[in-house]
């Protein structure tokens, strides 16, 4: 009798354990864990690259004149790496970064009126050589991020940061603010817990993030391409715009593969969409990789020589990106039964 009694509890215990294991191993739990891991890795990567840029800026400013050209090249590469890391992090368009408007402190876009140049030059006129990170952190957000750092590091029509101490000190201060903001995101991104109570909440969150991100990517690309204006390209000074789109597409693909794809296998229709989306992502990435490195130069060429081949190349890539965007913003939410930006995209 005693033995049976023990067995009875053992069976209950085993069943409880099994239920717990099922819950822990449930797709929702596994995927919220994947989401957390992806966010942590992405912000950690951003911090690492921001720190490298800050260090290389410090070295650039301290180095003797003979070594400055080499240090400038290193800092420019470090800027490209942070820009890539930020582009990847920008897919996390919820939580702390939105609640506290931190994205504006990383990048000011679009800048059709060249406000970045105006704000930087105005700030330099109003300050001495001893520029501090506090001064930058309290200044306009236009001055605080990668857009201003790009202006200082790459602009061909203003004094080089390499042989102007004041400009160099501003660069150091800007990159220090970038480091602080990156670390803040990395450490505090989950200070307000994400509101995911069930699978529907989870899918709504990750699908909305992906849809908004591809909308933004398309907007950034098409602003310059459709108007054939090289100065509307996202990172025209560093000629990094095409690279930015590639980084975006890779980040979006990773997001899709890791966080959404597991939910597209329970019906034939979803499986077909999943396959089509995976193919479309790959084709779009390939298409953009095949473009010449500099969108800025391509658009200048078109303007000056009206080269039909360049026009065709850009049109094909734009069309491919548009088709991917449509699948992600229309077909995917329908398949997952979630709603995407009703008033945000078409209000009145």
């Amino acid at each position: 009798m005693k033995y049976l009694h023990f067995n009875h509890y053992r069976r209950i215990y085993s069943k409880c354990l099994l239920i717990s294991c099922i819950l822990i191993a449930s797709p929702l739990r596994a995927n919220t864990d994947s989401l957390t891991k992806l966010i942590e890795t992405t912000y950690a990567n951003l911090t690492t690259h921001a720190e490298t840029l800050h260090q290389s800026s410090q070295q650039l400013c301290k180095s003797p004149a003979t070594q400055q050209p080499a240090h400038l090249v290193t800092s420019q590469q470090a800027w490209r790496d942070v820009m890539g890391a930020w582009i990847k992090a920008d897919i996390i368009n919820f939580g702390l970064v939105v609640d506290e408007n931190i994205a504006w402190r990383f990048q000011f876009w679009p800048d059709k009126k060249n406000l970045v140049k105006r704000k930087v030059e105005q700030f330099l006129q109003q300050h001495s050589d001893a520029i501090t990170e506090q001064q930058v952190a309290q200044a306009s957000v236009i001055l605080q991020g990668l857009s201003s750092a790009e202006y200082l590091l790459f602009d061909q029509n203003s004094p080089s940061v390499a042989d102007n101490n004041q400009r160099c000190q501003l660069l150091v201060a800007i990159t220090k603010v970038l480091v602080k903001n990156s670390r803040y995101l990395q450490k505090q991104w989950n200070k307000q817990q994400l509101s995911i109570k069930n699978q529907h909440d989870y899918l709504a969150l990750v699908s909305n993030a992906l849809a908004s991100y591809l909308e933004k990517t398309y907007k950034k690309w098409s602003l310059a391409v459709l108007k054939e204006n090289p100065y509307f390209a996202e990172s025209w000074r560093s000629q990094h715009s095409n690279e930015n789109v590639q980084q975006s597409l890779m980040a979006a693909n990773r997001w899709y593969q890791q966080l959404i794809l597991p939910y597209l296998n329970d019906t034939k229709a979803k499986q077909v969409l999943a396959k089509s989306l995976s193919t479309n992502f790959q084709q779009t990435i390939t298409q953009f990789k095949a473009l010449p490195t500099s969108l800025f130069k391509m658009l200048q060429t078109i303007k000056q020589q009206e080269k039909q081949s360049a026009v065709n190349q850009l049109q094909t890539a734009t069309q491919q990106l548009r088709s991917l965007k449509k699948q992600v913003t229309v077909d995917l939410p329908q398949a997952l039964d979630v709603l995407i930006g009703f008033n945000a995209n078409d209000g009145d």
């Binding site: 408007n101 059709k112 009126k113 957000v141 039964d337 930006g341 009703f342 008033n343 945000a344 209000g347």
Partner: protein, 382 residues
């Protein structure tokens, strides 16, 4: 047209008007206790889209997932309840041409009206204080003239047409103390032949107009620069303070004020916030809700996924909260306001002291449209 009744009407009304006891947890926090005492809330009214892409008028509870809906052939925009009868008018979205008059107690469509030939509606309307007349913003498109259509409400017969004082009149309100209409003339010229395309961005001249209903003409008018700031949505407090929500049609990189106020004979002036306070709104305001008794205006910015709360005395931005596709805003009582979202949520905020979210109801497969209203409590009894 057909009404869907997913729940029993009596149950819905009981839950809506007789407190929260049925669905509150046994141990109540201080906030919940306040809610329990104060939430004999009439149902909310909003246009919506379901997950199959169908458009609807919805009569629903802010406290739990219970709604009645009426299918619509097109997307509607706003719904306005009559001040002393249990009816409301739903207006088609621009450039729609239909008005739907329905009984929100019996859940019946009473009447459907079509705009005059060569006219379309802009999506908003308002009843006179005594409920005898209904006014709606509209356009005579051959001339691009902004107009106010006047309807007698005992039979909803059109009885008059007033000038709105500008192009593209959008939201309309009644002044709380005077016999005046307040009209946000957005300034944007459109034509049904070009769907919703904006035809005059470079030359647009928006304004805020006061129309004297006794004389039928514009009594006062205010403008604001830059002119590409379309004066679009508004609400007015019990003391006559007008809060205006703008939508910017200029360059994407411009940082412009998007919330203005007007009081007495003063000019239109921007509310107060810093650069990032304006940047975060993404150049677009949807709904404005003024709550004079708790000194707050709740204002939604769906493109920015934000709802903002402003201090009516200091005119300062008090708080910003992230909400995906934040859309409609309405006061439930002196202290609480409801904010709907395009992802189907109804959030309730306590605005009395520190702004805080006190309740959320999720409506699966419903996308709430930009505007929200509340039925009149006086008629609500089971």
């Amino acid at each position: 047209m057909s009404f869907e009744q997913p729940i029993n009407r009596r149950t819905f009304l009981q839950n809506s008007f007789f407190g929260l006891s049925a669905f509150c947890s046994p141990t109540l926090s201080a906030t919940e206790q306040i809610l329990n005492k104060t939430t004999k809330t009439p149902p909310l009214l909003s246009a919506a889209k379901d997950n199959k892409g169908n458009y609807r008028i919805c009569i629903f509870s802010p406290w739990q997932s219970q709604l009645f809906s009426l299918a619509l052939p097109h997307r509607a925009h706003s719904i306005t309840p009559h001040p002393n009868q249990p009816i409301a008018v739903c207006v088609d979205r621009r450039p729609g041409r239909q008005l739907y008059i329905f009984d929100y107690q019996k859940h019946q469509l009473l009447q459907q009206l079509t705009a005059l030939p060569n006219h379309h509606f802009y999506g908003h309307g308002v009843f006179s204080h005594d409920g005898e007349y209904f006014f709606t913003t509209e356009q005579h498109w051959p001339t691009s003239r902004g107009q106010i259509g006047v309807y007698q409400t005992h039979n909803f017969k059109r009885v008059d047409t007033l000038s709105s004082g500008g192009i593209g009149p959008h939201e309309i309100r009644l002044h709380p103390q005077r016999n005046q209409l307040i009209i946000a003339n957005g300034g944007i010229q459109t034509h049904p032949d070009y769907d919703r395309r904006k035809l005059n961005i470079d030359t647009m001249e928006p304004n805020l107009s006061l129309i004297d209903l006794a004389k039928g003409d514009v009594q006062q008018q205010w403008t604001f620069n830059p002119k590409q700031l379309s004066i679009r949505h508004l609400d007015v407090g019990e003391d006559g303070l007008i809060i205006v929500g703008l939508q910017y049609q200029g360059d994407q990189s411009d940082i412009v004020p998007l919330v203005l106020y007007q009081q007495g004979n003063s000019e239109l002036q921007p509310m107060h916030t810093d650069e990032i306070g304006w940047l975060q709104l993404n150049q677009y305001i949807a709904s404005v809700c003024v709550m004079t008794r708790c000194n707050t205006a709740a204002i939604t910015a769906p493109r920015a996924n934000k709802v903002t709360f402003w201090d009516l005395k200091t005119k300062q931005l008090r708080k910003t909260i992230s909400l995906i596709d934040a859309a409609g805003a309405i006061a439930l009582n002196d202290q609480l306001c409801a904010i709907t979202t395009g992802t189907g949520e109804v959030h309730i905020f306590d605005c009395k002291t520190d702004i805080k979210k006190v309740h959320t109801t999720k409506y699966n497969n419903i996308a709430w449209d930009n505007h929200l209203n509340i039925a009149n409590a006086v008629h609500e009894s089971v």
